[in-house]
C-alpha cells in the first residue's frame, strides 16, 4: 500500500526526512519497498495569472497569452489550450524550469512569435490524466507562489508491505498511530463528523436489519440527501492518484479517500434504487444472483453474506457492490454503509467467488468495529463539504453484541527471558500502553492489558513481548553466542552418506544435475518407461500439462538434459542426479512414497579430446563400470544379468541385483526413445534405487594380513563356445581354484581368424598365494589343473 507523507502529517508530527522515516517504519515491521517523490521531476513552476489572451498572428489553434508570475512584466507565452480565460490562475513553467521526463523549458519561437515559458495541464505535471486543457487553480492561489507546493506535489509516497496480521496498518491513521507510539508524538484527531442539526432524521428515511449477526457483528449507515455527483476536487484526486487509485466521481472518491485514510472500507448505495429504501444483512438464498460492479453476474451460495434490500441482494458483503444500486451521475440520495464483518466470512465469500478487492482484503485481515463509526462520520462530513449533501440526522447503528477485546497478562521477567534483554517493567508497560492497550492491573511482577479495538492479532503474552521488542528496536537486542547441546537423535542418517557419494561421483568426472520434481504421463512414456513408472501422484492444480504429476523416474529429466545440451553443441556428457521419485501409497490414507534414486548418463566420448589420443566413444561397459564403481564405493557386491527393459536397447541392457532384489537397470537407450527426444547419438543410462543401496551399510572393513610370501602368477587361455558368458567362466575358475587362488583377472577375449569358428578365446590371469608359506610349483599346478577341468566340464572349454 502507498502512503502519503503529507497525509500522515495531518495526524502526527514527523521530524524525519523521507529516508529516515522509511528506515524507522521498516524497523517497526512496516517494510518499505520503495519511496516515490512525484514533485521530484518538477522545477521552477509558479502560480501564474493570465492577464491577456490574443490570437496568434500565424496560427489558428494557438493563442498568445500574457501571464503574470509575480516577477515584473507578465510573460508572453504561446499556448494551444482553449479552456482558460483572463484572470485564471494556472501552473506556469518558467524558462529554465523542468517537467517530468527531463523536459526542459527554454525560450523559443512558435510560428514566428516568442514564447517565454509554458502553462501546464494535469498530465504535463504528472498529477493526473486530464489533458483537456490547462490545469486551472483555485482563484485564491497566490500569484508567483511555487505551484508544486501549492498543489501538494512536494509530497513523498511510501510503498509499504503490510503483513497479514496487521489489518490496522492498511490506512493512514493506523500508520500514524504506530508512529505516534514509536516517536512519542501525540496523535491528532483533526476531523469532526457532519453537522446535521435541523436535518430530517435518518430513521424516517431508511432502516437496517442484521439477520446474520455472527457474520456481521456491526452495521452502521448514514443517509445523505441531495448530493451533487461531480468530479472530486484536485487535492483529493491527486492523493488518490498518488495512492494508485483512479478517480470516478466525488461520492466514490470520498469512500475511497476515507478507505485510504482510515483503512476502513465503505460503500455508497443509491438510496432511491433500494426496494423499500432499506437494508437487510443476511446470507444469500439458493439461486440468488447479483451483477457486481465489474459487470459480472455472480451466482451466490448459502454461505455468502450479502447486503440486500427488501427484495434481493444488492452487494456481496465486504467484497463488492452491485451494479443496479451504484452511485451514478443522476444519484441524489445516498445510503452510506460502514460495517464490521467477520473476517472468516468475508474470506470465504471472496474465495468462493474468486474475487479479491481492496475491501475484501481489508475485512479478511480484520477491521476495527470502532473505526467503522469514525470512517462513517468522516465520509459523511466530506459528502456535505464536497457534494453539498444534506446529512440526515442520526446514525443507523446495529451492534447487537459488541466484539470482545482480548485481555492478556504480561510477566516482566518472561519478556527478558525470551528476548535476552533487561528491559525494566515500567518501560515495558509504557511501550504497551503507547500502542493503545489499556492497562487493567499492574503488580511488581506482571501487568494485565486489554487490546485496543484494532488489534485482533494480540491474544497472548508472546504477542505483547513482540510489541515490546518492536518498540525497544530489534537492533538494540543484544547478540549472544548460542550454546547448543547436541541432539542425540540422528534424524537423517543417510544424509552424510549421500553427500559423500555426491563427492565421489563428482570425483569420477560426473557433473551433477538437478531437475524439478514434476513430470507427466506423456514425458514418462516418451522416455520408454512403463509399469510402475506410470503410477503417478497427480496434482489437482498443476501449472502445466508437463508438470501435472510427480516424477516416478529420474530418466525423463536426464534425457531432456542430454537433448538440451547436445542441441547446444555439447555432444559429450557425463552427468548424474541424486533425487527423489514419488509413488502413490498402497494405502489411500498414507502419504505418497518418496524414495531417493541416482541416475548416470553417458554420451559422446569416454574422455575429453586430447592431443595424445584418439577420442573413443563410450559404450555399455562405461556405464556398467560406473555402476560397479558406485557399488564398490559403498562396499556392496551386486550381480548383473542381461534384461529386457522398454527404455533400453535389447542386448544392451542389464539389471542390477543386490541380494536377489532388483535395485536398478542400465543400458543403451532404445532408438525409439532417442528419436522421441530428437537425439541422434547413442546415450547410456543407469538408474538405481539409492535408498535400497543405502539400506545396506556393511560393517567397517576388517584388516586382512598383508601376505608375507610371494604370489605366483599363471596365465590360462581357453577356447570356449562363443556364447559362453565370461563372468561365469571367471566365477567357475574362482570356485575351482580353492583357497590358494587369490584372484582371477580376465585379460583378453578374442574371436576371429586364429580361433575355430563358433569359439572364442578367453585368457585369464590367475594369482596364487598362501598366507603362511611360499607355494610350490606342485601346489599351483594342481590348482591350475582343477580350474581347467572345471572349465571343461562346465563350458566345454579346452586349453588353447
Amino acid at each position: 500500500m502507498r502512503v502519503s507523507l503529507n497525509w500522515l502529517r495531518e495526524f502526527v508530527d514527523i521530524d524525519l526526512g523521507a529516508a529516515e522515516l522509511a528506515h524507522h517504519l521498516t524497523m517497526l515491521g512496516l517494510e518499505i519497498e520503495s519511496v516515490h517523490v512525484p514533485g521530484e521531476e518538477l522545477e521552477n513552476i509558479a502560480v501564474g495569472e493570465i492577464t491577456s489572451i490574443e490570437p496568434h498572428p500565424n496560427a489558428d489553434k494557438l493563442v498568445v497569452c500574457k501571464t503574470d508570475v509575480g516577477e515584473g512584466e507578465p510573460l508572453q507565452i504561446i499556448c494551444g489550450a482553449d479552456n482558460m480565460k483572463v484572470g485564471d490562475k494556472v501552473p506556469t513553467a518558467k524558462v529554465g524550469g523542468r517537467l517530468p521526463g527531463g523536459f526542459d523549458i527554454a525560450r523559443r519561437k512558435m510560428r514566428g512569435v516568442e514564447s517565454h515559458g509554458m502553462m501546464c495541464s494535469e498530465r504535463e505535471l504528472g498529477v493526473g490524466e486530464d489533458q483537456g486543457g490547462l490545469l486551472i487553480l483555485a482563484p485564491d492561489a497566490p500569484v508567483g507562489a511555487d505551484a508544486v507546493e501549492h498543489l501538494g506535489l512536494d509530497d513523498v509516497f511510501l510503498e509499504i508491505e503490510v503483513t497479514p496480521n496487521r489489518g490496522d496498518w492498511a490506512g493512514v491513521i493506523g500508520i500514524a498511530r504506530e508512529l505516534s507510539a514509536s516517536l512519542g508524538a501525540s496523535l491528532r484527531q483533526p476531523y469532526r463528523g457532519p453537522s446535521t442539526e435541523g436535518n430530517p432524521p435518518v430513521t424516517g428515511l431508511s432502516s437496517v436489519t442484521i439477520d446474520a449477526p455472527a457474520h456481521c457483528p456491526r452495521y452502521l449507515a448514514r443517509v445523505a440527501l441531495n448530493a451533487a455527483v461531480k468530479p472530486a476536487p484536485l487535492w483529493m484526486r491527486s492523493r488518490l492518484t498518488g495512492a494508485g487509485l483512479r478517480s470516478i466521481n466525488n461520492v466514490v472518491d470520498i469512500t475511497n479517500y476515507v478507505l485510504l485514510e482510515t483503512g476502513h472500507p465503505l460503500h455508497a448505495f443509491d438510496l432511491d434504487t433500494l426496494a423499500e429504501r432499506r437494508v437487510v444483512v443476511r446470507l444469500a438464498e439458493e439461486g440468488e444472483t447479483l451483477v457486481t460492479l465489474d459487470g459480472e453476474k455472480r451466482k451466490l451460495d448459502r454461505d455468502t453474506l450479502v447486503i440486500a434490500d427488501a427484495r434481493e441482494p444488492i452487494a456481496v458483503a465486504g467484497v463488492m457492490g452491485g451494479e443496479p444500486t451504484e452511485v451514478g451521475e443522476n444519484t441524489r440520495n445516498i445510503f452510506l454503509e460502514s460495517a464490521y464483518f467477520n473476517p472468516k466470512s468475508i474470506r470465504r465469500s471472496a474465495r468462493a467467488l474468486g474475487m479479491a478487492t481492496e475491501a475484501s482484503q481489508r475485512f479478511q485481515r480484520g477491521a476495527d468495529p470502532e473505526m467503522a463509526a469514525h470512517a462513517l462520520e468522516r465520509a459523511a462530513a466530506l459528502l456535505h463539504e464536497l457534494a453539498g449533501a444534506q446529512i440526515a440526522h442520526g446514525v443507523l447503528d446495529e451492534y447487537p453484541k459488541p466484539v470482545e477485546r482480548p485481555e492478556v497478562t504480561l510477566r516482566y521477567t518472561r519478556t527478558n527471558d525470551l528476548l535476552g534483554t533487561e528491559i525494566p517493567p515500567s518501560k515495558q508497560t509504557r511501550f504497551i500502553t503507547s500502542l493503545g492497550f489499556t492497562s487493567l492491573e499492574e503488580t511488581s511482577t506482571d501487568a494485565r492489558f486489554r487490546a485496543p479495538s484494532w488489534r485482533h492479532d494480540v491474544s497472548q503474552e508472546a504477542d505483547l513481548i513482540e510489541e515490546i521488542a518492536r518498540l525497544y528496536n530489534y537492533g538494540e537486542i543484544p547478540v549472544a553466542l548460542p550454546r547448543v547441546s547436541r541432539t542425540e537423535t540422528e534424524f537423517a542418517p543417510q544424509d552424510r552418506r549421500i553427500r559423500r557419494l555426491r563427492g565421489f561421483l563428482v570425483g569420477l568426472g560426473l557433473t551433477e544435475c538437478l531437475h524439478m520434481s514434476f513430470s507427466s504421463e506423456r514425458q514418462t512414456e516418451k522416455a520408454g518407461l512403463n509399469g510402475r513408472a506410470l503410477r503417478f501422484v497427480k496434482l489437482l492444480n498443476p501449472l502445466s500439462e508437463n508438470m501435472a504429476a510427480m516424477r516416478t523416474s529420474l530418466i525423463p529429466g536426464m534425457l531432456g538434459h542430454a537433448a538440451h545440451n547436445i542441441n547446444h553443441g555439447r555432444s559429450t556428457l557425463r552427468s548424474f542426479e541424486i533425487g527423489p521419485v514419488y509413488f502413490p501409497a498402497p494405502n489411500e490414507t498414507d502419504l505418497p512414497q518418496q524414495t531417493q534414486r541416482v541416475v548416470f548418463l553417458l554420451t559422446g566420448n569416454r574422455a575429453d579430446r586430447h592431443w595424445s589420443a584418439q577420442p573413443a566413444p563410450v559404450d555399455i561397459y562405461d556405464i556398467k563400470g560406473l555402476v560397479e564403481a558406485l557399488f564398490a564405493s559403498l562396499r556392496l557386491d551386486p550381480s548383473v544379468t542381461e534384461a529386457r527393459h522398454s527404455a533400453y536397447t535389447p542386448g544392451q541392457c542389464g539389471e542390477v541385483r543386490l541380494n536377489d532384489t532388483v535395485v536398478g537397470a542400465f543400458g543403451r537407450v532404445a532408438p525409439h526413445v532417442l528419436k522421441a527426444f530428437d537425439i541422434e547419438q547413442p546415450v547410456y543410462l543407469a538408474e538405481l534405487q539409492l535408498d535400497a543401496l543405502l539400506a545396506h551399510e556393511p560393517p567397517a572393513p576388517q584388516f586382512q594380513k598383508i601376505p608375507a610370501h610371494p604370489p605366483s602368477w599363471r596365465d590360462l587361455a581357453v577356447l570356449a563356445p562363443v556364447d559362453t558368458p565370461a563372468g561365469a567362466v571367471v566365477q567357475a575358475a574362482k570356485e575351482a581354484g580353492g583357497k590358494i587362488l587369490r584372484d582371477v583377472q580376465l585379460f583378453d577375449i578374442y574371436k576371429g581368424r586364429q580361433v575355430p569358428s563358433g569359439k572364442k578365446s578367453l585368457a585369464l590371469n590367475l594369482v596364487f598365494q598362501a598366507q603362511d608359506r611360499t607355494l610350490t610349483d606342485k601346489e599351483t599346478d594342481k590348482a591350475f589343473q582343477k580350474i581347467l577341468h572345471r572349465l571343461h566340464k562346465d563350458f566345454g572349454a579346452e586349453l588353447r
Binding site: 528476548l419 553466542l481 547448543v484 547441546s485 551433477e512 508438470m547 555439447r570 505418497p592
Partner: protein, 338 residues
C-alpha cells in the same frame, strides 16, 4: 726401452683423449691395458731388462699404467655424462602442451550451497533432518499455527495432491515432525525441496529452503541473532552487515526478517537491492507457544528459535546468478562454472 715407454705414454694418453665415445674408449683400453695390450706387454717384459734398469723401468711403467687408467676413468665419466645429456635433450618434454588431466565433475550450485549452510550450522551443533516433499496440510499449515481460514494460507500458492495433502510450501513442517520424534533439547538444520504455484521471471514452482530449529531451556532472541549473524559472516564474509527487523510469521512470535548489506553494492544502493542497500535473506523468530502446544512441548519450560532461508536466492547472491531459471535448466555451460 725407456724411450719406448715414454712414446707409449704419449700415444696412450692421446688415444684416450681422442676417444669420441665409450666404445672407442674401450678399444683404446684393450689396446693398451688389455691382456695382450701394449703396456701389459711392456710390464711383462720388464723382467727381461738388465737388472740395474729394472727398478726404474718397473716404476716408470707402473706410473704410466696408473696415468692411463685414471685418464680412461676420467674420460669415461665425461663420455657417460655426455650420453645422459644427449638422451635428456632427445627426451625433452614440451611443457606448453596440456597435461593429461583426469576429468572431474561439478556439484550443482544448490548442492554446494546446501552443504555449506548445513556445515556452518553443524559446527554450531545442529543436526541434519529431512522430511517428505509431499506433506499433509496438518504439518504444512495447521500444526504451524496456520489454520484453514488463516490469511497467510492462500489457495493459489499451494499445490494440492488431494484435499488435505499438499506439496510442502516450506521446510517448516519438518520442525513439527522432529519435535514429535524427540524430546527437547533439539537442534536441527533441514534442507529440502519446496513448492509453490508460482512461475515467472523471478519465481520457480520448485525451489529450495533450509530450515533451522533450536529448542532448549532458556533459548533467547539474543541467541537467535547471534547464531544468524555468525552464519551470515561465515557464508557471506566477515564484512557483511546484518540487521533484524520485525515481520510476521504465524509460527513464530516475536518474528523477524534478517537483511544483509547488499553483496553487490556493499550497501550503497543498486538494482539488485532495489536501491535500499539491504537484501532480505531469511525469516526467523522465537517458536510460537501454539506450535509448542502441537508438539507437546511445555512452552513455559522450553523456548526456541526457528529460521528459514531460500537456498536458490543464497546461491544466486553468492555466485551473481541473474536468473533462478538457470538453476533448473541443467545446461552444462552453467553447471561447469561452479
Amino acid at each position: 726401452m725407456r724411450d719406448q715407454l715414454e712414446a707409449v705414454r704419449g700415444e696412450a694418453l692421446r688415444a684416450v683423449a681422442d676417444a669420441a665415445d665409450l666404445q672407442s674408449l674401450e678399444t683404446a683400453r684393450v689396446h693398451y691395458l688389455g691382456r695382450k695390450g701394449v703396456l701389459t706387454n711392456i710390464l711383462r717384459n720388464v723382467s727381461e731388462a738388465p737388472e740395474e734398469e729394472r727398478p726404474v723401468l718397473g716404476k716408470t711403467a707402473n706410473e704410466i699404467k696408473k696415468a692411463v687408467v685414471s685418464a680412461i676413468e676420467e674420460r669415461k665419466q665425461a663420455l657417460e655424462a655426455k650420453v645422459l645429456e644427449d638422451q635428456a635433450e632427445q627426451d625433452r618434454a614440451d611443457l606448453t602442451l596440456p597435461g593429461r588431466r583426469p576429468s572431474f565433475g561439478h556439484k550443482h550450485p544448490i548442492s554446494q550451497v546446501i552443504e555449506e549452510i548445513t556445515d556452518i550450522f553443524a559446527g554450531l551443533g545442529f543436526r541434519v533432518a529431512t522430511g517428505p516433499d509431499i506433506e499433509t496440510e496438518y504439518y504444512n499449515f495447521d500444526s504451524l499455527n496456520t489454520p484453514a481460514d488463516h490469511p497467510a494460507r492462500d489457495l493459489h500458492d499451494t499445490f494440492f495432491v488431494k484435499p488435505g495433502v499438499v506439496l510442502r510450501t516450506h521446510t517448516s513442517p519438518v520442525q513439527m515432525r522432529v519435535m514429535e520424534q524427540t524430546a527437547p533439547p533439539v537442534a536441527v538444520i533441514v534442507p529440502g525441496r519446496t513448492f509453490r504455484v508460482d512461475a515467472d521471471a523471478s519465481h520457480s514452482p520448485m525451489f529450495h529452503q533450509v530450515e533451522g530449529l533450536w529448542v532448549d531451556k532458556g533459548v533467547t532472541f539474543a541467541e537467535l541473532k547471534g547464531a544468524l549473524m555468525l552464519f551470515s559472516h561465515a557464508f557471506f564474509g566477515k564484512d557483511t552487515e546484518v540487521r533484524f527487523r520485525p515481520h510476521y510469521f504465524p509460527f513464530t512470535e516475536p518474528s523477524a526478517e534478517m537483511d544483509i548489506s547488499c553483496t553487490v553494492c556493499k550497501g550503497q544502493g543498486c538494482r539488485v537491492c532495489k536501491h535500499l542497500g539491504w537484501l532480505e535473506i531469511l525469516g526467523c523468530g522465537m517458536v510460537h507457544p501454539e506450535v509448542f502446544k502441537y508438539a507437546n512441548y511445555d512452552s513455559e519450560t522450553y523456548t526456541g528459535f526457528a529460521f528459514g532461508m531460500g537456498v536458490d536466492r543464497m546461491a544466486m547472491l553468492k555466485h551473481s546468478i541473474d536468473s533462478i531459471h538457470h538453476l533448473y535448466e541443467n545446461d552444462v555451460r552453467f553447471l561447469e562454472q561452479f
